[in-house]
Every structure is written in C-alpha cells, then in structure tokens.
C-alpha cells in the first residue's frame, strides 16, 4: 500500500515577487515580470543580441536566508533555491529541530546549473590562466548543488538527489520526491526547481536557436502563449520549492494541508533535440500516464497549468496533446499558461507551476493566460484569457516539456480526508 502525499508548504523567488503572497497576488492581477535585460550589458559584444528582454528576478537579497560567507560560494541559482526552500519550510511551519532529519529529503532540479559561474571563470581562465579559477568553481556550478546546499543549510539527511532534464527538471524532481514519499523512504521532501540563466552565453545560445521572442519594444506583451502572434519564449529565472509529506506525517504534526499530490507521469518523445514530437504525442502520453497513476478519469480534471511557452510549436502541439488525452472534455476544462506573466523559468518552471496548482486548488481561482489577443485556429481551447477566474477546481495537472524530448506531468487534488 502506497502512502498518500500532501503539499504543506510553498516558497518562491520569481520575476513577479520574491515571496509567496506577492507572487500569487501578481499572478491573479495579471502582472507581467518581463522587461529589458539588466543582469548584463547587452551592448558589450561584437554583434547585437536578437532578444533583449527577460523576466528577471528583481531586488533579491540572499542575506536573510544565507550567511554572508557562504553566499560567495554559491551561484545565484543555488541562492534562489535556498531562499525558496527556507520560505517553504516556514510556510509549512515545519520545525526541523523536532524532526527525525534522516526522514527529511531534498529533490531540487535545475536545467543548466551555474551558468554565471561558468562564464566568469571561463573568462578568468582565458585572461589570467588556470591558477585564477576559483576553488569554489565546481561546487558552485554543478546542477545538483541546489539539493546539496539545501541539505547542508537545513540539516535534511534523508534521500537527496536532483533531476537535470532541461525545462522539465522541476516537475521531474517533484514527481520523484512524490514517489520517495509514496514508497515510505522519507516522511518529508523539500522539492522543486531553480534556475538563473539570464547570462550572455545562455542568451546567445537560445537566440541562435531562434527560441526566444524578439518583441523587444513591447516586453510585457512578449510572452503570449496560445496567441496567434506568439513568437517565442521569454526567459525567466527564480525558484519554486514545495514541502511535500506523507499524509500520516502531516496529520501527526497537525500541518495545514494545501492540496494532495496524487499522480505523476513521464515519457520521452524519442524524436528531436529541441522540437516537440508531432501532435504532441509524447506530452499526450505523459498526461495519460499521470491520470492513470492518480486513478482519475479524464473527465475529473478541471484545470491544466500548461507548459505553454509561447513558441509556435509548443503551444500548437500541447493543445493537440490535451485534445488527444482528454477527447471532448478538452473543451470543458480550463487551460492556462502562467508563463505569460513569469516568463519561462526553464528548470525552475515546474517548481513555480506546481505552486500555482496548489494555490489554485486552495483558493479556487485560476490564474489567466495574459496577452491573449488574437485567436489561433490551431489553439482553440479555453485558455482563461487575460482575467483570473473563480472556478471549482478539484483536480489539476501541470505539464513540463523539455529539450531532449522529456515530458513530465504531475496531478494535484483538493484534499479530502477519506
């Protein structure tokens, strides 16, 4: 018999707020976090960047969460994760001093890891030689170090790992943490995703791949998932972390239960490096697996937080995938992409969007897809255009689809005692 698993704490650092309530209020207000790139000087390179906008985290201060001496030894993607993890633990009112720390695990994914660190040390290597590369270089950049550092910072000694699956890293991490709890290998998991890649080199790479929006003169309207005029994703950054625990553990400590996590599915496209499989067949199978895992019929699903990147192919194929998985019910359920406001947080997207699922179920309100102006005949579902909507949401899904053809889906449900 598998354990039931519940969500009891949420923490977030995002382009639309560096704490849960600011983030959620911004989402419901339909606020965009996109603006001109400020993290580096776009004009200090021999040729121009085609994309000049991003959804950056603003005014992030690590010092309330991390010792000054340690901050220097952490890439910013690790700092975001520690801040979000500590906020999630506080939100869960989880007193780690009272916990059996061998039963508390961490599973935090990052798609890329310490890109800032790689770039600055590569420059030092070229300009000043190998002896100037920091002794902290490797432990700052490796993508597993968010999980490693969160365990060091919190004392969590249970199962600890990280998924590195591009834009599905966060969702895979949460799914794997869910499995660990189901199987009883831990009582509590601190899990989600983190990313910080608004850097020259990653920007150049995504520009060359023609993946990002070039709506540089109208940044706040650049991320427009499912809209006919969409022209690519807008890069975001930040971290979304959840505290998951077994129902038994949550009840025993009198925790506030936000939602129940009930399903997880994953598949591969086995198709192409970056392009999704035709008709979103990999994403379709991922959703079907997740519903099967949750023991739910498609007609029971009320809301899908879509991967919805605002690229031509993703949004078209994800729409087809939803129709393939849900049949006629695809037209009855609500679909939205909060990336219209947060931008695409890559490996952190699944973490942040799992928080959206939990909050949607808790507050019974669905955040909108903003910037929805021109209907695309190929994208003909109910995308909750432009205005957040009150609705009965009992069951909700979140999709993450990553380069490499990784597809992952999680399912949450309103908590009922039975």
């Amino acid at each position: 018999m598998l354990n039931r698993v519940v969500v009891t704490g949420l923490g977030v650092v995002s382009p639309i707020g560096n704490d849960l309530s600011t983030f959620w209020d911004s989402l419901l207000a339909g606020k965009s976090g996109v603006g001109p790139v400020t993290h580096f000087d776009l004009d200090s390179f021999p040729t121009p960047f085609t994309t000049r906008i991003a959804a950056e985290v603003k005014n992030f201060d690590p010092l309330p969460f991390i010792d000054k001496k340690e901050v220097r030894k952490m890439d910013i993607f690790i700092q975001y994760a520690i801040a979000a993890a500590k906020m999630a633990i506080a939100d869960a009112k989880l007193d780690l001093e009272k916990e059996d720390l061998d039963e508390v695990g961490v599973y935090i994914g990052s798609g890329i890891g310490g890109m800032n660190t790689i770039e600055s040390n590569a420059r030092l290597l070229q300009e000043r030689g190998p002896k100037r590369v920091s002794p902290f270089f490797i432990p700052m950049l490796i993508a597993n170090m968010a999980s490693g550092q969160v365990s060091i910072q919190t004392g969590a000694k249970g199962p600890n790992s990280a998924s590195v699956t591009a834009c599905s890293s966060g969702t895979h991490s949460i799914g794997e943490a869910f499995r660990i709890l189901q199987r009883g290998e831990a009582s509590v998991m601190i899990t989600g995703g983190t990313e910080a890649t608004v850097t020259p080199l990653s920007f150049a790479g995504f520009c060359s791949a023609h993946a990002m929006s070039t709506r540089n003169d109208d940044p706040q309207r650049a991320s427009r998932p499912f809209d006919k005029e969409r022209d690519g994703f807008v890069m975001g950054e930040g971290s979304g972390i959840l505290v998951l625990e077994t129902l038994e553990h949550a009840l025993a400590r009198g925790a506030n239960i936000i939602a129940e996590m009930v399903g997880y599915g994953m598949t591969a496209d086995a198709h192409h490096l970056t392009a999704p499989a035709p008709e979103g067949e990999g994403a379709r199978r991922s959703m079907i697996r997740a519903m099967k895992d949750a023991n739910l019929e498609p007609t029971e699903v009320d809301y899908i937080n879509a991967h919805g990147t605002s690229t031509d192919l993703n949004d078209k194929f994800e729409t087809m995938a939803i129709k393939g998985a849900f049949g006629n019910h695809a037209y009855k359920l609500a679909v939205s992409s909060t990336k219209s406001m947060t931008g695409h947080l890559l490996g952190a997207a699944g973490g942040v969007e799992a928080i959206v699922l939990a909050k949607t179920i808790q507050d019974q309100v669905i955040p909108a897809t903003i910037n929805y102006e021109f209907p695309d005949p190929e994208c003909d579902l109910d995308y909750v255009p432009n205005e957040a909507r009150r609705a009965n949401v009992r069951v909700a899904l979140s999709n993450s689809l990553g380069f490499g053809g990784h597809n992952a889906t999680i399912v949450m449900k309103a908590f009922e005692e039975v």
Binding site: K68, K69, K73, K131, R132, S134, P135, F136
Partner: protein, 79 residues
C-alpha cells in the same frame, strides 16, 4: 610597512572569512581559529596574490598556518 601589510591582510580575511577584525591577530590560526577550510585557504591565497601583486608558490602556501605567517611572507617578498 608591516603594519600596513597587516591591515590589508586583516581586511581581506575579515571580508573573505566573515570574522570580526579583533579575531584576526598575528597568532590566529587560519583554519583552527578563523574557521577556514581547505578551499577557503586557496581562495584567500588567490586574493592575497591579487592584492599584493605577487605569486605565492604552492610549497610556501602549505607552510602558512597563522595570520603572522602571511604577514611575514608578504613582507619578505615585497621588501
């Protein structure tokens, strides 16, 4: 010269190791008293090399245990 060197070394150690200036005495052990680990020591040596525009050879770096060792080493090299 030595007093000035001590001040500059002190400032770097305070900043890098996040310790109080009063703790950084000539006798203070960099690992034992000031809490540095082996990576911190490498980092500190790199910073000192930059600050004083010199190269600290690996075999010399291994002999450095206290703040006084650093000040003496730098004073000898710079003079």
């Amino acid at each position: 010269m030595a007093a000035d060197t001590l001040d500059r070394v002190k400032q770097i150690i305070v900043e890098r190791l996040d310790v109080e200036a009063e703790e950084v005495t000539l006798e203070a052990g960099i690992k034992e008293d000031l809490g540095a680990d082996s990576l911190d020591v490498v980092d500190l040596i790199m910073e000192l090399e930059d600050e004083f525009k010199l190269t600290i050879e690996e075999e010399d770096a291994e002999k450095i245990n206290t703040v006084g060792d650093i000040v003496n080493y730098i004073s000898a090299k710079v003079s």
